[in-house]
Each structure stands twice: as C-alpha cells, then as structure tokens.
Amino acid sequence: MKLTKAENQLVEKLVAHYAENQSKLKTFLLDQISPVLVNSTQLGECVHSFKWRLKEPSHLRDKLKRKYEECKEKKKRFTITPDNLFVKINDLVGIRILHLHTRQIAKIDKILRELFEEGRFRIIEGPFAKTWDDETKSFFDEIGIRTRQSGPSMYTSVHYVIDSNSRTRYTAEIQVRTLAEELWGEVAHTIDYPTPSKSLACKEQIRVLARVTSSCTRLVDSIFRSHEEFNSSGKK
C-alpha cells in the first residue's frame, strides 16, 4: 500500500535523524564494540574474520518504507519515531563474525557473552540461530541456542542484538556464521536484496547455492571432527 505524503515525510525525518547521528553510531561501532571483539585473543582463536558496516541511509529509507507499507496492509500502527529509531531498528550498526565450522559457535557464544559483559553492553535479543536444516537445528538445541525457521529466503546465522546501555540507547546487530554461509549470504544479498531478483534462474540458483554451501559447512564440520578424532585416537 503506497505511503501518503505525510507518511513519506515521517520516513524522511527518520532518515535525517539517522544521518545526523551517524558519527555517534560510528564511534559506537568503531571505537567501542569492534575493539572489544578484535582485541580478544580468545575470540581470535576461533574466528576467521570480522566485518562491520553502518547502514546506508538509502537502505534505511527502503527498509522504513517497506515496514510502513506492511503496517498499513496489516492495519497496524507504525510506531517508529526519532526517539526510538535506534532501538526499534537494530541493524543500523551491523557486525559479522565469520568462522570455519559449526561447532565453534559454542565457544564463540561463551566468549561473546563475557566480552559484552566486560564492555558493559546488554544483550537485548538472542542469541538465536536461523536455520532450515534439521541436523543443524538439533545441534543448536543441544548447546542451548534457540533456533528459528529461516523462512523462504533460506537465510542462516546466529543473531545477537546488543544495547549500549547508555544515556541514549543505541543498538547493534551481531551475526555469527560460517565462511560457507557467508558465500551464500553475499551472493544472495547482492542479487536478491533488498529488491528480489526477477529472474527465475537466479532465484532458483540462489536456492540451490544455499544447499551447496550448507553441505559445504557440513563437510568442513566433518573434516574437523574426523581430524580431531584421528588425533585423539593416535595419542592413545
């Protein structure tokens, strides 16, 4: 459902408010969260690499419009205001932590919780794992990380939202995923996001890629598991 002029004005006001505060969010990201993660040797031992970004204002505009239109269609109130923008939209600051194989997440989760506490950040959402694979789901169940069904996009990763716990509350989204999942994510994000691709072939192939990269992660898991098993039996 198209937005009215006044509704569009609110979206613009929110985007402008974000742009005005981008330098603070940049400090939050680059000086406060990232160093805590990057400087941890413990985390470094089980992480392959880190990525981070601030949301492009134009992407925020698209997201807000989409949300507003959804609200109108479902006859719900659109409740985002400049005062709650940084708490309602959690991915203005985004950090991605990449690792090699699935079982590393147990250790990563433990270290992240410690680091967030030390940095006096509050986890306000998650962790939960988005997955569509039953075997992966039962692994997460086993280590106590809640799971959610991926949905039609087949998107996967473990999510956290942290809060700055300060005078003005800022939030950041943290995603943890394997390198193979990242390959799928990057391709899908480029071709199919934010506007879905209109090519059936591309859509099909991206869905196939999700299965291939999931198998790839599963293969890496298996290699590491075999390697560990072989080493420990060798010592005996």
Partner: protein, 337 residues
Amino acid sequence: MKLKKSKGLGTRIAIFNHKGGVGKTTLTVNIAAALAKSGKRILLVDSDPQCNLTAYLVEESVVNDLLDHSDSPDGKTLWSAVKPVVDALGEPKSIPTYEVAERLYLLPGDVRLAEFEQELHSLWGECFQRRSKGFRGTTALSDIVSKTVKQHSIDYVFYDSGPNIGALNRVILLDCDYFIIPAACDLFSLRAITTLGHTLAKWINDWDTISDLAPSTTELLEGHPKLLGFIPQRFRVYGGVPAGHYAKFIPLLEKRIQADVVNVLKKIDETLVPASAFPLRMGEIKDFSSLASASQTEGVPFFDVAATTDIQRDEATESFQKLADAIVKRTGKPASV
C-alpha cells in the same frame, strides 16, 4: 541536541582564552577577590601548569616547598591530588586548600600538571572507548574541586588555565558552568577568537558523544560551558574613553565573538550563549600597568596594593567590583547583601 543541566556543586567559571598575555590570571584573582569581599565564598583552582596563580598569591618559599614535595604521598598540590589517577592506583587524593584571604581559597598548582596533561590525551581516547580508566582520569580534577566545594561551602569556583587549547583546558572548560573570554585589543587577539569558538564547539560535541555512549552509571563532566561574555582589557584611557587605536578594536572583537563563538555555540544549544538581555561585553578593564606589576610583587589583588595612589586603586577596585556584580547577575545568583 539534549544537554544535561548543572549539578550545582559551586558555580564553576573559567576566564579562558588560549591567546597568551590577555590577563587571565590578573582578571581571575581580582574578580575572585572582589566576589570574596562582597561575601561570596570563592575557590581558585590553579590548573595552569605554569602555576602563575599560585606564585602570585603564595609566598615564594612556600611555593618552592609545595613544588618540592608534591610528588610525595603527603604532597599538597593539584599534582599530588591527581597523581593516584595517573599512576592508575585509584581515586584522586584530597589536598588541603590554601587560605588566601577571608572566604578566598586556593588549590595550589604544580608544574608537573604538564605530566597530567600528557596523560589526559590518552584518557580522552579511552572515554571514546567506554573504558572506566578514561572517565576516572577525565573527571579527576572535577572530583577534587567538588570535594573542596563541599568542604568549604564554596559559591564560585574559578579555574585559572594555561594559554593553549590542550587536553587540560578541555576538561576544565567541560567542567565549567560558564566561561568568560578576556581579550586584548590587538589583531592577534582578534584572530584567536575564531579558533576559540570552533575548538570549544568541538569539545562540547565530542563530550556529548562520549556522554551519550558512556555506560549509564558513569560519572561525567557537565560538558555545558555557557558563555557569560567577554572582557576587553589593556587599552589606554584618555578622559575615560578608550583611546582611538584601541577603541576601534572593541566593536571588531564583539563582531568576531558574535560570529565565531556565539553563533557557533548557538548551533549546538541555544542555552550556551548569553540571554539577549545581556550585552556580550561584560565590562572592561583598562591598563593598570604599574598596578599590575606592583600587585604581582606584593602577591595581593589590585585593591590591596600598597605601592600605588588611592585614585588608581579605587578605580581598579570599582572596575573589578562591577565585573563581579555582572557575574553574579548573569549566573543567576541573588546579589550579595
């Protein structure tokens, strides 16, 4: 932008200009003394590593003794007070005040405050990183002042600052409720105003970012120094009117302050600049050249100088009293009885 309101631990004022030789220390001493005379309780904080204020008001042998022992555990200067923070041993230490006159107290300065200033550079960076050490160091001087204010029921605190825009002056200005710009009537003073306004705006904005992102229980500086006005000085006077050469600088100074301080600060927050009822110029101090040097030699405010004429002394007393009254009026405190 939303800025916090004052916490009310003594009204804190800096007579600040990073341009040297504009009479910061002389103005500070004399205004403070005038306020003390009119019944206010005043604390002078010698936060200039050159410690001119301390040398001004304290006997030389005592100053030497203070400086010689400031690094020891029983040290009594501002350096002794902040040293535990620099050494990362904990909270700042309480130091005794030096009673200069009735109701007029001094926290003695120290040449080693230059070392504290070095440390403040990295502590500032640590505030951006939300590290508690950064906040502790950045608010150390303010904490010491707060303790003294409580102890002596101080009404007004005056910081004396060095002529620069360094890390020490940054924490001083951000701790102040008000600042006053002393300005000489010359070209260099005029140029300095531009840097002053923009630097202050950056300090306030940076501190706002730091405060906004600091963990919620952190002790913070107020970060809201309001401009009280400016004081032109050191011009010669003939027949009570500023002489030609100097007189032409006053409107130029006023214009520059309006453009590069008032307008710049106003963009951050309307309450950072004087209410429209108050003219920017708070008063003026003429060149009491012989009186200034005599006052420094004798270590007393102008009105207590022995080696001068009654006329000159009375004239000086009146000028500073007027400024003191203007400060009381502008800071919203009731006039003294």
